[in-house]
Amino acid sequence: MSGEEFVPLSLTPLLIGTFAAIACALPGNFLVLRKQALIGDAISHVVLPGIVVAFLLTGAISTWPMMLGAAGAAVVAVVMIEAIRRLGQIEPGAAMGVVFTTMFAGGVLLLEQTDTSTVHLDVEHALYGNLESLIWLDATGWSSVLDVQALAGLPPELPRIALTLAGVILFTWLFWRPLKISTFDEGFARTIGIRTGVLGMALVITAAIAAVAAFDAVGSIIVIAMFICPPAAARMMTNRLESQIAWSVLFATVSAMSGYVLAGYGPLWLGGADAVSAAGMIATVSGLLLALAAVFGPCRTRAGAPGGA
C-alpha cells in the first residue's frame, strides 16, 4: 500500500487502536493480579448515567461534556467499589457487581424519564467510537506527518488517547515499586509506609480514565478485552512482573495492529466482499493470543494454593 493511501486511511486508526490497547493493558497487569480485572466491564456500564447527566446539563450531544460525564461516573463508581470492598470486607468482584448494575440501571431510568424524543441520544454513537471512522482526510502521504496544516486535521481522538497513554505510562513508571509491593503483599506495604488505600484508588482511577478515553476512540469491546487478555497472556510467558509488563505491551500492540489489518483485508483474502469490525477483530485476536499463551506459554502452571503445607 502506498503512503498516499495508507497515511490518510490507516495510519491514524492503527495508532489510535494501538495507543488505546496499551493504555488499557498497562493498568490491566495490576488489575489482573489484584483480581479486579472486571473493572473494565464495570466502567463500560457505569458511563451511561454519566453521559445522560452530561446531556441533561448541556442539552447537546458533544464529545467533551459527555467524556467528562463518563469519566466522572467512572471515578464515582471505582471509588464506591473500593469503599464497598474495604468497608464491607467483601471480594472485589461482588463490589463491582453491586455498583455497576445499580449505576447502569439508574442510567437507564434516567434516560427513560428524559425527553430525548427530539434528540437521538444513543450511547453507541455518542461516545463509543468507531475505529474505522477515525481517518485523516487532510493527509496526502507521509509528508503530511510534518505538515502543520494537515496535522491540524488529525482526528481529535488521536491526541486525546496519546495524552492518556502518556499519563498511564507516567503513573506506572513513577509508582512502579509501591504498586508492585502493595499488589503482592498489602500488609507489608502498609508497614513500610505505603498508603495502600490511596494507591489502590489511584490505580483504579487511572484505569477508569484510560477506559473512558479508549471508549471514546475505539469502543467498549476493545477496552474490556485489553484490560484482561494481554496481561493474562503475558503472565503465562514469564515469572517476572517487569517482563510481564513488556509482554503485555507487545501483545496489545500485536492485537491492535493485526486485528485492524485482518478486519480490513481478511474477508477479502477469504473471498468475501466487506470488511468486518476492527474493534471486534482486535478483541478476537487478543483472545486468540491468550488462548495460545494458555496452551503453549512457558509459565502457565499455577504453583499451587498458598498455605497448602
Binding site: P178, T191, G193
Partner: protein
C-alpha cells in the same frame, strides 16, 4: 514502665518517655459487632523474644496488625520506641502470615528480599550492587542463597517462610514482628528461623512472635503475652506462662492433659 491508668487523648510527651520498643494502651479492634481485641495494654520488653499466645480467634494477629496500623483500631494508643508509629516505621520489620499473599505472583525470591530495601531505594532509586549484595547476604542467613532466581511459587512452604524472614532481615530493623512464622513449616525451617531470631536477640534487637505451639514456648521465648480478646497475662515465661494463665486464656479449649503436660515441662 507502663502506667496502668492512661487518659485517652493525652499525647505521648505528656505521658513521659516510654522506651518500650512497642507499647500499646487500651487497644480495641472490631471487625463487626464483636471486638477481636478488647482494651489491651502491652509493653514489649526491649532486647527480648516475646511470644503472643492464645487460642484460635483470640486476636493475636489482629493485635499485631493494629499495632502496625494495618487494621484501624476503634481506640488505643501505640508507641514505638516512645514515638508515634509513623515516625518509627524504618525501625520495624514485619513478617505477615505466609498464607496472606498469593505465591503465584510473578516475582523471584531475590525481588521479594529487595522489597525489604524499598525505604532505602525510594520511588525511583536503582537497585545497585550493594543492594543486591545485601539481599543475597540476607538470603544466605536463612539458607536460601541458591534459590535467589526461583519464582516464589516454586518454593515449599518452609522456604517461602524463610524468604519472608530474609526480607525482614534486609530491613535492618530494631523491632521484628512475626505472625505465625512456624505455621506449617518443616523441622529444618523451624530450626533455621529460630536460630536467626536468636541471633537477632543477641544483636540487641527485640523480637515479637505470634506463636501457636505451646510445647516450644519455654525453649524459644523469654517473655509471653497471653491473650483471649482481652489480655490474660504478660511477663517472663516463668511467671506468666503457667497452668493457671493457660487455663484462663484457653478455657475449655485446652485439655487438662495438655495443661498437666505443660506444667510438668515447666517443672
Amino acid at each position: 514502665m507502663l502506667e496502668l491508668a492512661t487518659v485517652q487523648g493525652v499525647s505521648v510527651e505528656e505521658q513521659g518517655v516510654d522506651y518500650s520498643p512497642l507499647a500499646i494502651r487500651g487497644l480495641t479492634v472490631s471487625y463487626g459487632q464483636k471486638p477481636a481485641v478488647f482494651s489491651v495494654d502491652m509493653a514489649v520488653q526491649p532486647g527480648a523474644m516475646t511470644a503472643i499466645i492464645g487460642p484460635n480467634g483470640a486476636g493475636k494477629s489482629t493485635l499485631l496488625k493494629a499495632a502496625l496500623g494495618i487494621v484501624s483500631p476503634l481506640s488505643g494508643l501505640v508507641t514505638v520506641f516512645g514515638q508515634p508509629l509513623e515516625d518509627q516505621r524504618a525501625r520495624i520489620a514485619y513478617v505477615p502470615q505466609r498464607a496472606s499473599v498469593d505465591w503465584d505472583f510473578p516475582t523471584r525470591v531475590i525481588d521479594v528480599v529487595l522489597m525489604g530495601l524499598s525505604r532505602q531505594l525510594g520511588l525511583l532509586g536503582r537497585v545497585r550492587a550493594r543492594h543486591m549484595a545485601r539481599a543475597m547476604d540476607c538470603l544466605n542467613r536463612v539458607g536460601m542463597r541458591e534459590f535467589s532466581d526461583r519464582q516464589i511459587g516454586q518454593l515449599s512452604g518452609g522456604q517461602q517462610q524463610r524468604v519472608f524472614l530474609a526480607r525482614a532481615l534486609a530491613q535492618d530493623a530494631d523491632l521484628y514482628l512475626l505472625d505465625e512464622p512456624f505455621a506449617g513449616v518443616d523441622a529444618a525451617t523451624e530450626k533455621a528461623i529460630i536460630a536467626v531470631l536468636k541471633s537477632l536477640k543477641e544483636a540487641g534487637k527485640t523480637v515479637v512472635v505470634v506463636h501457636h505451639d505451646l510445647a516450644t514456648v519455654t525453649d524459644y521465648f523469654d517473655h509471653v503475652f497471653l491473650i483471649n480478646t482481652r489480655k490474660v497475662a504478660e511477663g517472663p515465661v516463668a511467671q506468666a506462662f503457667t497452668a493457671e494463665t493457660l487455663q484462663a486464656a484457653y478455657g475449655g479449649r485446652l485439655a487438662t492433659a495438655q495443661i498437666d503436660q505443660i506444667s510438668r515441662a515447666l517443672g
